[in-house]
Structures are given as C-alpha cells and as structure tokens.
Subunit: 668 residues, 2 copies
C-alpha cells in the first residue's frame, strides 16, 4: 500500500501552491500533461465508441483471412475497411472533429499559460532582472568599456539610466576556484581519515601522480597549497577588477524603472545594428556566463555551422556506429598480427555483437549532453534558452530516427536517399500505408519507453545506479556525497521532446488505429501524477524562465497535427476514397492559419514586456516605497558569481548559502 502512498499527496497541492513551491516553469510543465489529458480523453472515448465499431464491421480483412496473416489489432484499424467504402466519411468527419478539438484546446491552453505568465511577472516582488538589460557588442573606442557604456546610455536614455555592471573575463579565476575546491576536498578527506584513525597521520608523495618524490604530511601539505592558491586568487581577483583589459565588451545596464528597461530592451540603439545589441537580462542564476562576449560575426557563423552539424547528426549518426560494427574487419586489415586474437570466438562476438550495441547505447546516452554542447556553441545567453534549443534538436532527432525511422525501415540516411528519390506526392502515401502496420510496434514503444520510463523516474532508478557508481569511485567527503545526491531539475531538454513524440503518436493514430489512444492516455495520466510528485518533492529548480518554453510545445503539437493530416491524406488516397483529398487538404491549411493566428496573438507575451504593465508596476512601487534605494539594490546583482565569492573558507560557504536563500525568496 505504501508503494502508492505518494499519489494522494501529489494531487492535493493546488496550482498556486505549486507555483509558489517550485516556480512557474514547473507548473507550466505540468500543464503540458493536463493539455495531453484534455486533448486525448475525449478523443479516446469518441474514437473507441465511433471509429472502432466502424472499422470492425468494415470486414475486408475478414474476407482475406486465409491469405494474409494479420493481428487482431488490424481488425480495429482503418486497414479493415474495404477500399472505396462509404465508411471513410466517418473517418473524415472524425479527423475534422479531432483537429478542431485539438486546436480549441491548444488555443485555450496558450491563452491560459500566457495569462499565467503575465500574472506571475506582474505579481512578483521586485526582481533585479526587471530593471536590467544586457548590452552586447559594445564597440571599442579610445576609452574604456565602462566609460563608453556610461556615456552612451547617459546620452540616449538620460531620464532612466542608473548605472551598469561590467562583465569580467574570469576564466583564469574560475580555474583557480576549481583548483581550490579540489584541494579543499583532498584536505577534508585527509582530515576525515586522520579523525577516524588518529594514530597514523596521512602522508603523501608530492611528485608525479603521487608516485615519487618526497613524502610529506598530507594535511599540512594541502593546507599550504590552499593558502598559496588563495593568495593567487586574491591577486587575480584584484587584477580582474582593476585591469581594463579584463572587461568584456558586454554590460548589464540597469535603469531606475521597469519602463526604462522595457524601452531599452525592445528598441534598436545604434545606427550599426550589430553594435549595442540590447536584450532582457535573464535572472542572474540563469545566465550562462561563458557566452556573453561572442562577437556578432562569430555568432552568425557558429549558428550556421551548428545547423549543418545538426542535419548531419540526425541523418548520418549511424555511420560511426556502422564503423564500430566493421571494426573487426578493419583491425584485421590494419594489424594483421592481431588476426589470431580477433578470430577467437570470444573476441569476435564481443567486437561484432556487443560492441556496436554498446556504442549505440553510449551514443544515445550522451546525445542530450552533446546536443546541449552544440547549443552552447550557438551562443545563447541563458541556461533556459540553452535547454530549449537542446530540446528542439532532440525533437528533430526523435522525429526522424524514432517516428519516421520506425515507419520507413532503414537508417535515417537511407530514408533521406529515399525521400530525395521519390516523388513528393508519393511520400505521404508510402508512409501513410505503413502507418497502420506499425501500430503494434508503437504500442510496445509507449509501454517500454513511456510507462516504464515514468515508473523508473518515480523509483529514480537511473540516479540510484549513478549515485552508487559515484559513491564507489568518486565520493570521498560529505561534500562529494551531497553533490552526487543532487536530484537536478526536470530536464526539459530530454523530457519535452519525449512528450511531444507521444502527442505525435496519439494524433497520428487517433483516426487510423484508435486502440493506440488508451496507451497514450495512460501515459499522460501516469506521467502527470509522477512528475507532479517529483516536482513537489524531488527536483530542484535551477532557474525561472516563467514558462518561456510554451510556444515551442504549442508549435510542436501543431506540427504533429500537420504530419497526421499528411499521412492520413496519403493513406486514404490508396483506399480509393477520392472525395477525401480536397476535404483533407483544407485541414492543414486551416491548421497553418490557426498557428499563425496563435503566434501573433500570444507569442509576444513570451518575448516582450508591455509598457502598460511596466508603468503600472512602477507606479505601484513608487506609491508603496517612495524612498527605495534602487541603485544599492541593483549594485552587485550581476557580478560574475565567482567574483562574489570572497576568499576564505567559512565565508565562501556563507555567501553560497545566502545566494541560495535569496534565490528561493525571490521566487515567492
């Protein structure tokens, strides 16, 4: 019983409480599952009550029974309806109904989330990012960067400019911080060892890898090294804060009102549109500091190269794995003396059987990390934007390699070749025809990947395994253990695309093989409960983007609708239902228009900050706190976090704790 005891608790908390407890991102993330339920519950009921009886009584397959082997599921699918049958009118009507219902739900939910976002931003207490704009590509002139920034904004925003925070090139300092942490960890470890075994003071050889050299007392040695590093850190810190060359051509510009910041973030500043690029500053903990100072041309080249790389990755990722497969042959050719070893049964089965599978698993395991790395190269400024970009990349990968790859057999590369050498009009037909045949596969997929994946998440199997692996090999001190136990955040980069795939499957099969819908529905119910629980009890929130990922969710579901229409069009065109083509062509056009409309209606709520809102908040604040010292409030908000750490052990801990606390406070 206690196995399911978390469920009622997970359901008790209200949405407002979740927002307060875990941030708006988490609440909006849960709304995706609610959207899934809202879309698929009526769809499932209608489809089971209407389409399945129509399909079952269609009776083509019953006639062919003796010739073709078919599963029972096919009896329930559209394949069971005789070509040219009048029954396809039912399917057509249901497609219209489903599309309109989905669009209606999408519209309501977009409206709802946009409202939640605006309300959240409006009801928040004062936050530094409301007054701050990040300025990139400050042109180098004779003066220092700071003087240039001051002069420019005093001239062009005279009424609202307050000050700015320079961004320092702290790479060297960051390295020292890391080094100190490592040394500190070794010191703690040795002190622990000494406490447990007070007779024997731990010692250490100081030479190469601790293998040779003089043997010294470890605790004394590490203490001395740490104080050395601390001295160097202090020097470096002073150098950075003083040296004008360490200032990057980027700045966080603060204004005396939300209105001033909103104006600066949304307008073009300079004649040369590649200089003085202004944008909203992400909240301090959301900033990815390394990407702040990428020049404009480099950014443009990076994004271009990354989009080519993504294309290559999606379509040609099988090539290195195929190479691993043929490794045995290659080895024999390159190093003939190894032949006897390779020809051993064990080696051969390892090289040809186990290794390629392992390579594929490893590849899929590191893929999200790799995609995140690609997004980082693209130069986005905030962690939230990086996660969204990585999620988009993962979605393309899944769409091509899981969805299309399962329907059209063969690797993505073969598919690409196939699509290039098939008439465009025939592609939806070929895919459409094989859609009903793959229903069983996708049902299994939903169970294995979806249900089991969610179950593994509630049991936290993967983190458990990794934690134990880590505590076996890495963990030496409490600090290490704490690090290893950090549950992390929701992991949008991987979870969003996975979920979007289920939307795609559900919408594609809704009319074709409705028996798949309950599987999708169960996934959404189960995942909703589990993630609600995890968000409330397990995950930490790294940043708050106020639901900035919703437009992506919306447009991916729209894309799923479009794909489902095209595939149904292809499928019905082989079923001698000629009347369906023009009627089905209307649907994607309607969906496209709907998408455009929603975009212009809601998207700006996720990108811009209306002046009306800013003015209102400013006025309220002025009335309630007339003598607020904003300048002091904003002074060091955007100092590089590493530079905020003052040297000295105890203090460092304190500053960190403080930081976390303010982070939590400002969410509430």
């Amino acid at each position: 019983m206690s196995f399911l005891s978390w469920m009622p608790q997970a359901l008790k908390m209200s949405q407002a409480e979740i927002i307060q407890h875990a941030g708006l991102d988490s609440a909006v993330y849960l709304r995706i599952y609610i959207l899934g339920l809202k879309i698929f519950l009526p769809l499932t009921i209608t489809a089971l009550l209407v389409i399945i009886p129509v399909n079952v009584s269609g009776g083509t397959l019953l006639d062919l029974k003796k010739e073709i082997v078919f599963s029972n599921i096919d009896k329930l699918s559209i394949s069971n309806v005789r070509p040219g049958s009048e029954r396809f009118w039912v399917h057509l009507f249901m497609t219209y109904l489903f599309t309109i219902w989905t669009c209606f739900m999408l519209y309501r939910e977009y409206d709802n989330v946009a409202f939640m976002r605006l309300h959240f931003l409006a009801s928040q207490h004062r936050r530094v990012e409301q007054f701050t704009v990040v300025v990139r590509n400050v042109p180098r002139s004779g003066n220092s960067i700071s003087e240039t920034v001051d002069h420019f904004f005093q001239k062009n925003h005279p009424d609202h400019y307050l000050g700015h925070q320079a961004v320092y090139n702290a790479n060297k300092f960051a390295k020292l911080v890391k080094k100190k942490e490592r040394l500190q960890n070794w010191l703690d470890y040795n002190q622990l060892k000494f406490e447990r075994n007070p007779e024997k003071r731990p010692t250490k050889k100081v030479g190469f890898l601790g293998l040779c050299g003089e043997r010294l007392d470890s605790i004394g040695y590490y203490k001395q090294r740490i104080s050395e590093v601390e001295k160097r850190m202090e020097c470096e810190r002073q150098r950075i804060l003083r040296d004008s060359k360490a200032v990057l051509p980027v700045a966080f510009v603060t204004f005396d009102s939300r209105w001033g910041a909103a104006v600066c973030a949304q307008t073009q500043q300079s004649r040369n549109p590649t200089h003085w690029l202004t944008d909203w500053a992400p909240e301090p903990r959301d900033i990815y500091w390394k990407n702040l100072a990428i020049p404009f041309v480099s950014l443009s080249i990076r994004r271009f190269l990354m989009s080519i790389s993504l294309f290559a990755l999606v379509f040609f990722y099988m090539i290195p794995i195929t190479f691993v497969q043929s490794l045995a042959n290659c080895l024999e050719k390159v190093a003939p003396f190894l032949t006897p070893v390779i020809e051993l049964k064990l080696t051969k089965s390892f090289l040809q059987g186990f290794l390629p599978g392992l390579a594929l698993k490893i590849f899929l395991y590191i893929l999200p990390t790799f995609l995140m790395l690609m997004s980082k190269v693209e130069g986005y400024l905030s962690l939230s934007a990086l996660e969204r970009r990585a999620a988009a990349k993962y979605y393309y990968f899944m769409l091509v390699n899981v969805f299309l790859g399962s329907i059209v057999a063969g690797t993505a590369f073969e598919q690409l070749y196939y699509f290039l050498h098939q008439p465009p009009a025939r592609i939806p037909r070929t895919i459409g025809v094989s859609i009903p045949m793959k229903a069983t596969f996708f049902m299994t997929y939903i169970m294995v990947d979806g249900w089991a994946g969610v179950a593994a998440d509630i049991l936290r199997l993967k983190p458990l395994v990794i934690y134990h692996l880590k505590s076996m090999f890495i963990v030496k001190t409490d600090r290490d253990r704490q690090k290893a136990m950090d549950p992390g955040s929701i992991g949008l980069a991987k979870n969003l695309p996975t979920m979007q795939l289920y939307f795609l499957l559900g919408l594609t099969y809704a009319v074709v093989t409705p028996i798949l819908l309950p599987f999708v529905l169960i996934f959404f119910i189960f995942a909703f409960l589990v993630y609600r629980h995890q968000i409330i009890n397990v995950y930490n929130q790294d940043y708050e983007s106020a639901g900035a990922f919703w437009p992506h969710v919306h447009s991916r579901i729209i894309a799923s609708l479009l794909i489902s229409h095209l595939l149904l069009l292809g499928l019905l065109s082989t079923k001698k239902a000629a009347y369906s083509t023009p009627l089905l062509l209307v649907l994607p056009l309607f969906t496209l228009w709907f998408h455009k409309y929603c975009k212009s209606r809601f998207e700006s709520a996720f990108q811009k900050y209306p002046l009306e809102e800013a003015m209102e908040k400013d006025a309220m604040e002025k009335a309630s706190e007339p003598d607020l010292n904003l300048k002091a409030y904003l002074a060091d908000a955007y100092l590089h976090p590493i530079l905020q750490i003052t040297v000295g052990d105890g203090e460092m801990e304190e500053v960190r704790v403080d930081k976390n606390r303010t982070g939590v406070c400002s969410q509430q």
Copy 2:
C-alpha cells in the same frame, strides 16, 4: 542626332542632385541598375574570355554533327563539353568566383543603400512622420476613442506624449466629393460649350440617362446640383467631425520628440498583443486610408486567404483562358440553336483563334492592377508597402510562369503536377538539362521584352496610345486632359520583378551559356540610361519610402543565386562530373549563410529607427530652434485629406495646390 540628345543630360546629374530632385526612392531604384552593371560587367568579360574558349574547344557536339541539329549557340555553351571531361573544373571554379563576386557586390551595395537611407533620414528637415506613430486596434471601452487614446498614452508615455489625431470614417464624404467633382466637370464642359457657341445655351433632359423628362438649362441645372451637394458635404463634414461613432479605432499619436516616437513605435504597449498595435506612421501622402481600421482577426484571415489565392493564381491562371478557348464548344452544347452562327468560318476563327489570345493579353495587362488589389485586401497601411507586396506577387508569377514555364514546357498547372510526381533529386536535373537548350529563347526574350520595353518607355508609347484613347472618349475639359497626361511614378510593382528576372537569367546562364550575358548587360546599360532620364524629366514621385524596397531586391538576387546553383548541380550531375556535387552543395549553403548575415547586419536599418539617431536630431533641433511650437506644427498633419478640403470651388483648388507644394518642399 536629336534622337539621342537626352543621353548626356541624363548622365550629368549627380546622385545627390537626383535625391534632391526626385527623392531617395528614385536614386535607390537607379542603384539596382548600377548593381546589375557592377555584377555583370566583370562576369561577362571573364565568362567570354575563359568559359567560351573552354566550351568551344570541348567538341562533343562537333562529333555528333550529323545526327543532332544544333544551333551555333550550343557550340558556345556547356553542352559542347564532353561528359566526364576535366574541363568542368573550369566551370566549377568560375561558379565559385561568380558567386563570391556577386555576394561581395551585394554586400557593398546593401551597405551603401543602408547608409544612404540613414543619411537621408538624418539630414532631412523636420517632418511630421518623425514625430508620429500610428496606433491600430484601439480597444473600445465605455469612453470615446479619443478619450481612451489620450488616457492610455498620458499614462504610459507621460514624458513625451503630445496629442493625437483621430481617423474618421469618411467613406460617405468621399463619395460626395467624387460626385461634386463629376458635376463640376459637366458644368465646366457646358460652360465651355456655351463660350464657343454663345448663341445656343446648352440644355439637358433631367430624367433617366438624360433621355426623358423635362428639358432644362444645363449650366443652371449643374450649378444648382453642385450647391445642393456642397450643402450635403458640409453637413456630412460636420457630422463626421462631431459624431463619436465616425471615429475609427485608429489614431495618429504625436510625440514631443523623435526619441519618444521611436520608443513608442518599437515597443509593445498592451498586455493583449492584438490591442494598441503601434507602428511608424507613413508620411501623410503615403497612407492608404481605407486600410486603417481593419480588425486583427480579419487581417489574419485576409492575409491567409490572399496567400492561397496567389498560389491559385500563379498555378491555375491558365484555366479560365483554356475555358475561353473551349467557348465555341460550350456554346454549341448550351445553345444548340446558335450552331449555324458558330460554325461560320469567321465566328469560329474569332472564337477559337482570336478570343483566347485576346483574353490572355487582357489578363496579363490587368494582372499588376489585380495583384495590387490583392495587396490592398491584405490590409497594408501605406502605398509603398502595397507596391512592394504587389511586386513580390508579380515576381512569383514571373518566376513560375516565365522562367520555369519556358524551361519546363507546359502550363504552370502541369508543372505543379510534374513536380509533385518527380523525385526531388531529379527535378534540378531535368530542369538543369533543358537550361542550355532554352538560351536562344531567353536571348530573344531579353531583346523583345527587355530592350524593346525600355525603348518603349523612353518613347512613352503605351501612355501615348492610352492618352489618345482617353482624349477620344473621355476628355471633355482641361481638368480631364491634365489627368490623362499625368505621367505617374516609376511603377515599382511592375518594374522591380521584371528587373529581378534579368538578374536571375544572367546568374543562371553565366556559367552555362555565357553568350547570353552581353544581352543582359546591354539591357542594364540601356535601362539605366533611360530610367535615369525618365526619373529626372518625366515621372512624378507619389511618396517617399527612403529606399524601403532594397531588402526585397537583395533577397531576390540571393534567391536567383540559389536557383542557379541548384540548376547547375542538376546539369553537371548528368555530365558525369561526380566530383562537382559536394563542391556545388557548399555554394548554396554559403549563400544562405551570407543572406542571413546580411539580414541581421542591414535589415534593421530599413525597419527600425535607432534611438541614438533620434536623440541626436532632437538635441540639434532643441539647440537651433528652442521655442518651436511642435503641437501647432503637428496639429492637422494626419487629418484625412478629404476633410482638409474646405467646401467652395476656388478654395478647394488652392488647398490642393498647397498640398502639392508642401509635398514638393518637404522632399527638398
């Protein structure tokens, strides 16, 4: 000799003088021809010196002489090179060279035009549109529109808001104005008649079409009618200015500084992004008044429907013309009693031979007007935007029906069918192969359409014919004659796409059949001279958009480059030059990146107004004219032009003349 006497004069004027005389739009328009010269002069020379010798000495066709009939031009083209020959390296190298040169020139010219635009805007004297923002979709609340607007902007732009000008629904008034003009024209005609023939006072029957009813003295009758209409106009005018229901939910909001207007135009005002849409106000004479009050949803539906219509128009325009062709048959079926008439040789040849051709001619003649109408339905606010949209539509039409239509035989509808049923990889190949074969056709096309068209323009043949037709049938008074003689403006909607087609032809054939290049080059030289002359001496400028069409020109030339790469790729893949494919795939990728880079580098100069610039101009003005009464200056700038006409004949003329004069003044 006097035939060419206009030429030296056309070359004498400097660019600065042209800008002063005819506006920046005209000067930028001429720069397109200069860009054509800069791109194609080196291309022509290099191609003639390098590619033609390589092609001529290739010698496949010489071997096949007896079997295939080929023209001499084919000897100079790439068809003459043996498949699998090493000579294709030369073509490959030249493609790279040409692409890089074209991109280099495009970059320089974009830079140049963007600079010209910014300089023009900066060096202009004070203009009303610099201080004005058009606000659309003002939400209806309990108060009147004027109060709502005042309240909203006083609240959200307290430091810079000056006032606003309401927009009135003046449709009824406009009808009265037209009616009065018609009556006035008849009065003038009758007075003229009476002056010439003083013995006989002209009379008129007042009944249906002047055929029946009482016979009255014409001059008295028209005078009385005019005074009646004038009274109604005055009533209507008062009603409009007073009635709050005649105020549309649109306003021209004026600010006390360019900075304030720039901020308001570039930011989002309201929480609901479909309300309070702000944008730069076009200059008063550029406004298309009818489109100001289209609600948001309607706009979204209109644009969507228009894009579907454009698709239908481009691909299915032949259907009604084919219907005309089969008119004879239809008539016989519908009305069998007409059969003897239809079977007459004369009728039959008219119905089947002359009528379809005439229908096609009429269709092509009214096409630009029709496309303009479609753009008007799309709801753009300014005449300049309407012309740009119409030009884009015409370009798509030309690209599909002239360029592709000439290469792939058959109607656009057949082509669409063909493209949908061909593998995508084979399409560039099929088109690429037929490219060299069509060189002769396009050379003729350039001569007939390009050279002759330009020559007709300098002789102003078409306006001459139309003028004489008009003066035969319509012109009755001096006013009519003046109207008929108005030379109009450059006609961007038709000239831009035509020119872009020549860029496409030149770039496509540069490597394939270089002998076509001199024809393109001559077109650009000739057209440059002619349009320079026309702009200086003939055309009137309707509005000034400060070269807002350049981004379109740039992206169409980029599209031409991409098309040329794809076609060359297809062509070479049939020539057994396998090494070329990967090398040629790099080029479109590079071109795309270049386009993206240019877009982010320059496009904002055509859409936004940098705050730096605004601030500088404001400061300068404040220094030079400290006690300027801006409010009075801006008071009636954006009153509907019809309402500016005060009733009464003489005055009306004066107001009009004044308007023209101020228009001319503000250009200088």
